[in-house]
């Protein structure tokens, strides 16, 4: 079968599987977050932590809980990394240096999983399992919980009670992420991913040299890495490593895992506001952007007329022959459309326009479908901004699913929208101005792209790297850590604030004068607003990077 035909089947089956899980996983998650009953094991957790599981929180308390939990997580992880050598299963690796530990701690707590290091030669098994993998679960839960709170803001009326962070966190981890990851781990092991606690074996290569091949709890890490849109690989090569991603069908499964929760969350939105069609509209926006982006990435990668690609018949540099162009491009698009950042090919080696696509995906704010939870709340913010302009055009105070978008709401939404572009642009400009871009492998527009990509990835909590740039310096680790931290928690606080002000409102009943937010026209408008706003913000920067190189 031709590579294109295989690529088409790959994509279509993926779409079909996502469409089926939209309904089932969406409904299941809806039940999880609205269930009145606690599981016994959950009650045990609440007693242990000492929270009243039946008391709900206002947005301020919820936000403080999120921040406190994350702060403790960062401190814990930092300490863990700093004293790695004292811990069991350290495989003899040293303590991680200060700026590296800071960067990694922030990176995993913010669901970014930016990795300045090579996993197999820096982190011991205990750190991987008890430190990083734990954060893979809970940071994903935090994202979903915040999205659920925003949805509650739309669904509830005249209240300041928006749910209980500890309950949401526990339930999402125990009832959603854990079971699916266990299932996925087993399937990945069947597919050939490794799962052991081995310190590795030394093998003699063809050329006669000795290579140390590390084993470890790879499959389990792999499952949550994708499911929770984390992206931090066990190995430096990430999902291009055969121990992480052995075959073409595990490649399919990994892409499915990283898309499945973000694409199902709009269903929770639809169910909670009592109008499934609103969920369909949101998922349609995500779907249109995702399909367009994947198609463009594959297109740019397949059609590029550079000398080398012409000579070898395809742009295969940086891609694994097991996957080929379409499946690599799909993975690249999917990992950057979500906030995963795992890779099965190297974006730096992409054609200049093909390499621009992952960057644009992240610049969209990772909303199509975005990180777990983060994608939904990002998309809802864009819907709010669209509703505001569109609502004025129908002659009414704009409203979205019955809630008025007034000055307070637009303040939260606009500030949210400001954060990540500001971080990405200021970070990039700072790197250029302070000459820290000089650690980049390439000069000229491609070197600039490497810098722009790094800050875009960190600010949007993606974690994928264009690579080609040495970021293991104090400046880079500190700056990217800051970008990740602010890029995660400023938006979360703003989203929770928005939820608080929405929940306080009395909903406006729907009438013929209400802007319908479930029709194709509105879907198209949200797509347009998303693309235009991003284009307007980043076009000058893109012009100096991938566009200068690729046009």
């Amino acid at each position: 079968m031709s590579s294109t035909g295989a690529g088409m089947i790959f994509l279509l089956t993926l779409l079909l599987a996502l469409a089926v899980s939209y309904r089932f996983l969406g409904d299941y998650m809806y039940r999880v977050v609205s269930d009145a009953k606690h599981w016994r094991i959950e009650r045990g957790v609440y007693r242990l932590v000492g929270v009243n599981a039946d008391g709900e929180q206002s947005w301020g308390v919820y936000a403080r809980s999120v921040l406190a939990f994350s702060a403790v997580s960062i401190l814990f992880l930092y300490a863990f990394l700093r004293m790695q050598s004292l811990l069991p299963l350290s495989l003899g690796f040293d303590n991680v240096m200060t700026h590296g530990a800071w960067n990694t701690a922030v990176s995993f707590v913010t669901n970014t999983n930016w990795q300045w290091y090579s996993g197999e030669s820096t982190m011991g098994h205990l750190v991987q399992m008890a430190g990083l993998a734990v954060q893979n679960f809970v940071s994903a839960s935090v994202g979903i919980a915040v999205a659920v709170v925003l949805v509650r803001g739309f669904a509830r009326r005249k209240t300041d009670q928006l749910g209980n962070f500890w309950v949401d966190l526990t339930r999402i981890t125990l009832r959603v992420l854990l079971p699916i990851s266990i299932l996925a781990t087993i399937v990945l092991i069947i597919g050939g991913a490794v799962q052991n606690l081995s310190g590795g074996t030394d093998v003699t290569t063809l050329a006669g040299a000795t290579q140390h091949i590390t084993g470890g709890p790879v499959a389990s890490q792999e499952a949550i890495k994708d499911l929770g849109t984390n992206g931090g690989g066990f190995y430096n090569a990430n999902s291009a490593h055969p121990f992480e991603n052995p075959t073409s069908w595990t490649n399919w499964l990994e892409i499915f895992l990283l898309l499945v929760i973000p694409f199902s969350l709009p269903r929770v939105f639809g169910r909670m506001v009592g109008q499934n069609r609103q969920g369909y509209a949101i998922v349609a926006v995500m779907g249109i952007l995702a399909v367009a982006s994947i198609a463009l990435t594959i297109g740019f990668e397949s059609a590029h007329g550079g000398t080398v690609p012409q000579a070898v018949g395809a742009a295969m540099e940086g891609k694994d022959v097991r996957f080929g162009v379409p499946n690599s491009a799909t993975f690249a698009a999917a990992t950057t459309l979500t906030s995963t950042g795992s890779v099965n090919s190297f974006h730096d080696s992409y054609t200049s326009l093909g390499g621009m696509m992952p960057m644009i995906n992240m610049m969209l704010g990772e909303v199509a479908p975005g990180g777990v939870g983060a994608g939904l709340y990002g998309m809802l913010i864009l819907a709010v901004i669209t509703v505001f302009v569109a609502g004025l055009m129908v002659g009414r105070t704009p409203e979205y699913v019955g809630k008025k978008i007034g000055a307070r709401e637009i303040k939260f939404a606009s500030l949210y929208f400001l954060v990540t572009p500001a971080l990405a642009l200021i970070g990039t400009a700072a790197a250029m101005a302070t000459k820290n871009h000089e650690t980049a492998l390439n000069a000229g527009p491609h070197g600039f792209s490497e810098v722009l990509y790094a800050f875009t990835s960190a600010s949007n909590n993606n974690g994928s790297a264009f690579a080609g740039i040495t970021v293991n310096t104090a400046w880079w680790n500190t700056a990217l850590g800051l970008a990740m931290l602010l890029g995660r928690f400023l938006p979360i606080v703003l989203v929770l604030g928005l939820a608080g002000s929405l929940a306080r409102q009395q909903p406006v009943p729907e009438s013929a004068g209400t802007l319908p937010t479930h029709k194709p026209l509105f879907v198209g408008m949200v797509v347009g607003v998303t693309v235009v706003l991003v284009a307007l913000t980043f076009l000058p920067a893109l012009a100096l990077g991938p566009l200068a190189e690729g046009l």
Binding site: S414, I426, G444, V532, L551
Partner: protein
């Protein structure tokens, strides 16, 4: 049985097909007249309220400095056009304000030179009159006004009746009657007594008269930003910050690019120090939403102005905006949905009597009935049966029995024949008292009319020596104004529910509600019921609009989100409402809703247009800035503009001219036809969204064709 009916009169108060809401045209001379005002607004202290334009002004100052230190044709042209951008924005606001100023000036004339004749010791034995300046009047003062006097302040008539010329505020030259007590007791300062004498208790505080408030409103002095305007300003500020960031952060990136391509020539756009200041400012000005930023306040002022042109005074912009959001309209039946009073619609005879005979008897018996209902009987008899009204004086031996509230009958006794007409129960009792048995004849007809919501009047005669008998029944019914059903259908399409408020019984109310096509009705409504209905609607999250004139309407007017008081109403009602209709036309509520919507649509449409414009400007400016460094970026120059300098200059000129071009639209408001939200959105998105993308491509290209003729560009 002959059934006849009258066509509803198409005269006063009918609702003609709604015209699209529009405003006056923009006179080019007005632009010129407003220029000094626009220049005065360059003062940063007044520009402070408009952050977008303030940034443009700061940018203009910066390029001025650059142009002086390093003068080139390009630098000076950019500088001039940046200043023009700010001036054009100020001009929009100045023109909008100018229209109100003219109105204010004529109002001020009405206010001048009023001298009050204050009565001291009112209520005691000795009342003394003294002359004081009108401005010195306090709340509670008693003044007297006679024919020819200007009423010195707002107040209530406490004694007497007078005809008053209110043209100074309403523009309507026909005098109105003002009398003590009741709902027509309010008088407005600045109006003129034409006849008779009234004593007025002043209700205003000094300097807060109706005219004072009107002047403040039309001048825009008391203009505060409305909630939607504030929200929009926040969004525009956020966009401005984003673009500011993308322009500022561009500099280190540009320096890097230029350093990498060291051999690339320095241009007026980029050199070793990065993008030049002039170009950086140009990029910023092109990106920030200057179009909507420039026109936003003009749109708001013009919206209020459009209301004033329709003789409606909104006490706050917030109320105008709320009018666009209204979900439920409460409309009084009488005067709004139906013509003032019930009218005779047909004569229904009993067995053995012709309709003409009933008409004749009905007419005779109604001659002494001065109520509107009675007069409508005479009119119907004349129109349908050619029965000319007989003059009471020509029938000297007739004994006229006038209508009274106690007897509820009127009639005539002439030549041994006694005819009575009146409320069914009263006349039927009269027939029985005189030996007749009316129930069998007219009973079913009376019940039928009542059941259909009409009012039955029975006509009966009593000839000497015979038992009295009923001749027939007059069907009185409410006449729904022409065109109301269409208006209500329109409202429904806009998503607005109409509720008719009436004191009638539920049966009658339902019949009229069905005929007029309102969505719901509130029958046997007392003021408390109205209040309860408003609260109930509001609890459901709906916004309610209503009109009212009486003092007992005041609480409901205050509770409603949009309360339109009639100018003829009491001062309590006018205080309670947030709008006053000087024409006292309750139907105008519908127009107010449309104006409110149009105001919001205009803002939304121009915002969309403004943002959509940026796309084309990017395609002009980015290649202009960077083609010298990366020649491949010339591919983005899809308009094939002449040179980098001509491209940037054309974008800036377009950006300035589009403001001037859109001033008429901002003042007039975008065309609004009542329709569903979906239709409105697709239409406006097509015009202002798609148009906003396409127009600047064409505009910038055309300007470029001219600009390239300038030497040095």
């Amino acid at each position: 049985m002959t059934v006849t009916s009258v066509a509803p009169e198409a005269t006063p108060g009918t609702a003609p097909r709604a015209k699209p809401v529009g405003g006056g045209l923009l006179d080019p001379k007005q632009l010129w007249r407003s220029t000094p005002g626009a220049l005065r607004k360059l003062d940063p202290r007044s520009l402070w309220r408009n952050p977008v334009m303030l940034i443009v002004e700061v940018g203009a100052v910066f390029t001025t400095v650059l142009a002086i230190t390093d003068p080139t044709v390009f630098a000076w042209l950019i500088t001039i056009w940046l200043w023009l951008t700010v001036v054009f924005a100020n001009l929009a606001e100045a023109v909008a304000e100018g229209r109100g100023k003219a109105q204010a000036a004529s109002l001020r004339r009405a206010k001048q030179d009023a001298v009050a004749r204050r009565l001291v010791g009112w209520g005691s034995e000795t009342v003394r009159e003294e002359s004081v300046d009108a401005v010195a009047l306090k709340q509670g003062d008693i003044v007297v006004c006679e024919a020819g006097d200007v009423i010195p302040g707002d107040g209530d008539v406490i004694e007497g009746i007078a005809s008053v010329d209110e043209s100074a505020i309403t523009g309507e030259s026909a005098p109105v009657i003002r009398e003590s007590g009741g709902d027509r007791s309010a008088v407005t300062g600045g109006t003129k007594v034409l006849s008779d004498r009234i004593v007025v208790r002043i209700t205003q505080k000094p300097g807060e008269s109706f005219i004072d408030r009107m002047i403040a409103l039309v001048e825009g002095a008391s203009r505060q930003k409305t909630p939607n305007e504030i929200a929009l300003n926040i969004l525009l500020a956020a966009l401005t910050i984003i673009f500011l960031l993308s322009v500022v952060t561009l500099q280190p990136m540009a320096i890097f690019a230029k350093g990498y391509q060291g051999a690339a020539p320095d241009t007026e756009a980029i050199n070793a120090d990065g993008v030049t200041g002039i170009v950086l400012v140009s990029l910023l000005v092109c990106l920030i939403p200057t179009t909507i930023g420039a026109l936003l306040s003009a749109i708001g002022i013009a919206g209020m102005d459009r209301l004033v042109q329709r003789n409606v005074l909104a006490m706050s912009g917030r109320a105008v905006e709320a009018a666009g959001d209204v979900n439920t309209l409460l409309l009084d039946k009488t005067g709004t949905i139906t013509l003032g009073n019930r009218q005779a619609a047909e004569f229904l005879p009993v067995e053995g009597v012709t309709a003409a005979e009933v008409a004749d008897a009905a007419q005779l018996s109604s001659l002494a009935d001065e109520t509107p209902e009675g007069r409508s009987v005479v009119v119907l008899a004349k129109n349908e049966y050619k029965l000319r009204a007989r003059d009471e004086g020509l029938m000297p031996h007739a004994h006229w029995v006038p209508f009274t509230a106690e007897t509820r009958m009127s009639g005539v006794d002439v030549d041994g024949r006694r005819i009575r007409k009146g409320a069914a129960a009263a006349v039927m009792k009269w027939v029985r008292d005189n030996g007749g048995h009316p129930s069998g004849d007219v009973g079913p007809v009376v019940d039928g009319i009542s059941a259909s919501g009409g009012t039955p009047l029975v006509v009966a005669e009593h000839l000497d020596g015979q038992p009295a008998r009923a001749l027939g029944v007059i069907h009185l019914k409410d006449v729904v104004k022409a065109g109301m059903r269409e208006r209500f259908d329109e409202m429904r399409r806009m998503g607005i529910r109409t509720v008719m408020i009436t004191g009638d019984n539920p049966l009658t109310a339902k019949a009229i509600a069905d005929e007029a096509g309102v969505d719901d009705f509130l029958a046997e409504a007392k003021p408390e019921d109205k209040m309860a209905l408003i609260k109930k609607e509001q609890q459901g999250g709906r916004l309610v609009a209503m009109t009212g004139d009486g003092t007992n309407d005041a609480p409901a007017l205050a509770q409603a989100d949009v309360g339109v008081a009639m100018n003829t109403g009491t001062s309590a009602a006018k205080e309670a409402g947030n709008m006053v209709d000087l024409d006292s036309d309750p139907t105008k509520l519908i127009e107010i809703v449309e104006i409110g919507k149009q105001l919001l649509i205009t803002r939304g449409a121009l915002t969309t247009f403004s943002i959509a414009n940026d796309i084309a400007k990017y395609f002009a400016i980015i290649p202009a800035m960077f083609t010298a460094v990366y020649p491949s970026l010339d591919a983005m120059n899809i308009m094939r503009l002449h040179s980098p300098t001509s491209a940037i200059l054309s974008a800036i000129i377009f950006n300035a001219l589009i403001i001037i071009a859109l001033i008429p639209l901002a003042l007039r408001g975008v065309t609004y036809r009542p329709s569903s939200a979906s239709k409105l959105l697709s239409r406006n998105l097509l015009i202002y969204g798609l148009g906003g993308i396409v127009v600047p491509f064409i505009g910038i290209k055309l300007i470029d064709l001219l600009v390239q003729l300038i030497p040095g560009i």
